[in-house]
Amino acid sequence: MSYYFVLQAKRLNRFLLEFGITPYLAYPLFIILFFVMSFLIFIKAAGYAPWLYILTFSIILESISQQDRTLLLKSLFNRKAFYKIRLIENLVIAIPFLLFLLYQQNYLFAVGLFFIALSFVFIPYYRSFQLSIPTPYKRRPFEFTAGFRNKIIYLPFILLLIIKSIQVGNANLALFILAVIFFICLSFYGAVEDPYFAWIHNKPPEQFLFFKIKQGLINSTILSGPILLILGLAFFETWPAVLLIQGMGYVLIMTIILAKYSAFPSAMNLPQIILFMLCFWLPPMLLIAIPLFYRKAIKKLTPILT
């Protein structure tokens, strides 16, 4: 079993190296970044920061509990070793979150987070039933169709936060949820796509990108629509902020599509991710990023689509 963890460490190091960053730099950088981000969240979103923390932690756990991985572990190890591995992995991920919650004296949330880490060990992530989850994207596959189903587990959290925002009359929380919806939409474009699914389109690269962006904007509108309605009914006075977030969301969706295809068919590399992240903190960077990603995307798609 210990060799499994050695192998995981090797894989992670190889991934970091391929990503263009040495592991010796990546690990300390990650720890620093984690605590800086945590402080920022707890300062800027004091009221609901622990909830956000729980949500982020659950997203990470869910991503390592996918069906293929779970089945592989089950086929390699006996029942006892399987649960031991899952428990160790979940607790390793939980440690920084727990430390920060304890530091913040959020003991109740720390206990909750610990139990989430435990419960994820026992969630059967392989599908033993053949039912498919209906989505509003049946006619527009595939990023949002697959993404919606992958992230459906967060729907209760989002609903809970919406109800909470109306209950306490907190418009900022509702606006924050709108931003979260767009973050979730952006995550749908994170998966590497096989070139075949671009190749099948009988469109030149420019039209292909336009088609993808159009689909992305329509689909994100469908997902953000109910929140927009709630904001309109409950917090109408916030419309300038709503427009700003919705507009920024659209621009970021467009940017991530261009960024994804600028690295296609490989995954985005570190400089591309840094440039994309910079656009969050410094929106004028979009003026540089969008044309740059567009030109690269056309270059990458041309041999596949023409």
Binding site: T145, N150, F197, W199, I200
Partner: protein, 226 residues
């Protein structure tokens, strides 16, 4: 008509296709045979435009890929996408706005279930159905019979014959010689990236015998069975 002129392909220093010159005409079915690693899939990927290559490829409509349906040996199916949604995706990608997939579900696939939970054969059938729905002029079917049950094999042979009657150009690779015998007009034998032989329908039996002796040789005697 598709014309391959001096088509070659290398991966680094390793040359995998050597100076391929072939002609594929409308209304005909062509078989490409060869052992594993002989270059069949690479040749198909070059024709499809999924691999760059040296040499030329001529076709009356450019780009060829916009008129070509490609069934891959191991079809790639995304997770959390139903069979219906997969068919919708491959149809809209070619600008075909259809949704009557259930009516055309010749393989009786459970289209409302996630396609990544399908068996190997079912995935193959779904991908083939998607390729057929695209109404392409040219079809490349890489191992269409692999992993598919015998009834569906018969159905696929029948569908290929129907496509031939519709004047399509069809390229097939298969390790099951009988399926090629039933469908192809001409078979090209590919070995180590070289077209070693092209055989017309009337000489398929000779090719079958020859292939068996080449492939089998004395190899079965190398392993000590007890």
């Amino acid at each position: 008509m598709i014309k391959l002129i001096h088509l070659s392909k290398s991966f680094g220093k390793k040359k995998v296709l050597h100076d391929i010159n072939l002609l594929f005409e409308k209304g005909k079915v062509y078989g490409i045979v060869g052992s594993n690693g002989s270059g069949k899939t690479t040749l198909f990927r070059c024709i499809a435009g999924l691999e760059d290559h040296d040499g030329e490829l001529e076709y009356e409509h450019t780009p060829l890929k916009d008129h070509l349906g490609f069934l891959q040996t191991h079809p790639i199916i995304m997770s959390r996408i139903t069979g219906w949604e997969y068919l919708k995706l491959v149809s809209i990608s070619r600008g075909i706005d259809t949704e009557n997939f259930q009516e055309q579900n010749v393989f009786e696939l459970p289209l409302n279930e996630y396609a990544d939970t399908y068996s190997t054969g079912m995935k193959k059938k779904l991908a083939l159905m998607g390729t057929l729905l695209q109404q392409n002029k040219v079809l490349i079917l890489d191992e269409p019979f692999n992993g598919v049950d015998i009834q569906s094999n018969l159905l696929i042979i029948e569908l290929i014959n129907q496509l031939k009657d519709l004047n399509k150009i069809i390229l097939i690779s298969s390790h099951i010689f009988s399926t090629l015998r039933d469908t192809c007009d001409e078979i090209h034998l590919l070995r180590s990236g070289i077209i070693e032989k092209s055989v017309m329908k009337e000489n398929f039996i000779e090719l079958d015998t020859e292939m068996k002796s080449i492939i089998l040789g004395d190899n079965n005697k190398r392993i000590k069975l007890s």
